[in-house]
Amino acid sequence: MITRRTVAERLPDRWRTGLVSVIQFLLPFLVIGLAWELAVRSGLITSSSLPAPSTILAKVWALSVREGVLWRHLTRSLYRLSVGYALAMGSGLLFGTLLAMNRILREMFSPILSLLISVPTIAWVPVFLITMGLGDRTVIAAVFLGGFFAITYNTIRGIEMVDVSRIRAARTMGARGLHLFASVLLPGSSVSVITGLRLGIGYSWRALVGGEMLSAMVQWGIGKMIYQARFWNDVTVMFVGLITIGVTGFLLDRLLIRWLERVTIERWGMVAER
């Protein structure tokens, strides 16, 4: 006990607070998992449609390490996510900037945008199924649409908040087009843009899962794994899928977006470092 404490004390401060917050984060799951496990073991829950956490974890082990199917589902999903999200990012930033910079374009499109935003992304999937087929393209289109609106909307808001005199100053000094965008507009709007990117990846990830479930020709993907489990009423696999979706979504947000924040707005001193 004593040695352990000294080891912990020797760790750098940042690591120690990090470790504490990781433990604090995991503790509730441990408590609930244990209670659930005990309820199943003691015979309080006897239903075959509510497996014990140990059964679910064993399934995670079997699917990921022994058979490797979980990775195949996950990598397929991540591939679709990255293609769709990259498209959403590129076009959302571009479209958002255009709309923010041009009053006529904005007056033309912003009411239409707010109408379209009100439709749930997943509702577009049947449209894509009809027009683009039952395969990858439909799923990627759903991912794209999920991210696109959030990124566009927040880019517009961000650029509208950039001080006009800065834009004028850059213009008088000869900045045009892409140069103006990269050196003035993007940094100036970055806090809002990153909020859009963060919301966007969440929406994209959710749209991906739904799209995979609904597209008949898609065989691999984390959403498909859950959907297929339905045919055997395999609740354990469903739980594995839901946990994978939750954890991956969480990691995408924490690792990817946090990294993006660190190399941009925190380095530029636009927000307080966390």
Binding site: P28, I32, I104, R230, V235
Partner: protein, 260 residues
């Protein structure tokens, strides 16, 4: 000014629809996959009229979805506000449930549906449960944030003047947190609506706008699919205007919590 603001977008949409109509008419695009606006309207009217003396199929679909949203979102709101108040007033409860909400919130309702189908079967029980869960998270999250951000001086002052700690809840906590709660309720109801439509795709038995769209897409009746999307927009806007804004007027605006 107001009129001018609407001219450009309406022109844009009108010319888009006109082009679509022409393209389908001259078979530049396949009209059975890209049903032109005229046949969208025709298909919707047909759905409305077909069994009209008894009932309108279209309105029954809309009614079924709305009913599910109201039931699910109401359950989610009550549970979410309760949970949020608990999380806001007790640090322990907050520490315990915050990680759980963080991890469960990003899981889309449509992915939860298969699990609940196994437990509860197809139809209303599954759709309403998943919808209620969807509404619950943002409401609990925002209520907790609102209650936690209350100035402790207010609570102390109220206690000093003899308000019991249980009476503090409706008199101090809820009114001060009302802005946050309202924001959460808005998010929650919107999310519930989205989720109900999505879950209807996979779990509905015979009624609901989601079911209508999904069923039509399986038989490639594209007019009904596009019409369904249009209805989703209109119903959502109507819901937002009528319901949420009137609730807001009755609560936070009247109490002067946000500027009207």
């Amino acid at each position: 000014m107001k009129v001018r603001r609407w001219i450009l977008p309406i022109l844009l949409v009108a010319s888009f629809l006109g082009l679509w109509e022409l393209a389908a008419h001259f078979h530049w695009i396949n009209p059975s996959l890209f049903a032109p606006p005229s046949s969208i309207v025709r298909d919707l009217l047909r759905l409305h009229v077909r069994k009209l003396p008894d009932r309108s199929i279209l309105l029954t679909h809309i009614g079924a979805s709305l009913q599910r949203v109201f039931v699910a979102a109401s359950i989610g709101t009550v549970a979410g506000v309760l949970m949020g108040v608990l999380m806001g007033t007790s640090r322990l409860v907050h520490r315990f449930f915050d990680p759980i909400i963080t991890l469960l919130m990003p899981i889309p309702g449509i992915a939860q549906a298969p699990l609940f189908i196994v437990w509860l079967g197809f139809g209303d029980p599954t759709i309403i449960t998943v919808g209620a869960i969807a509404a619950f998270f943002p409401i609990a999250f925002n209520t907790a944030a609102g209650v936690r951000s209350i100035d402790p001086q207010l609570v102390r002052a109220a206690r000093l003047m003899g308000t019991s700690s249980t009476a503090c809840l409706p008199r101090v906590y809820l009114p001060s947190a009302a802005g946050h709660v309202m924001a959460g309720v808005k998010l929650g109801w919107a999310r519930c609506w989205r989720t109900v439509i999505a879950v209807e795709f996979v779990a509905a038995a015979s009624w609901g706008l989601g079911y209508m769209i999904w069923d039509a897409s399986e038989y490639i009746r594209s007019g009904v699919v596009y019409g369904g999307i249009l209805l989703l927009m209109l119903v959502y806007l109507a819901m937002e205007r009528l319901l949420l804004e009137s609730v807001e007027r009755l609560t936070v605006r009247r109490w002067g919590m946000i500027r009207s």
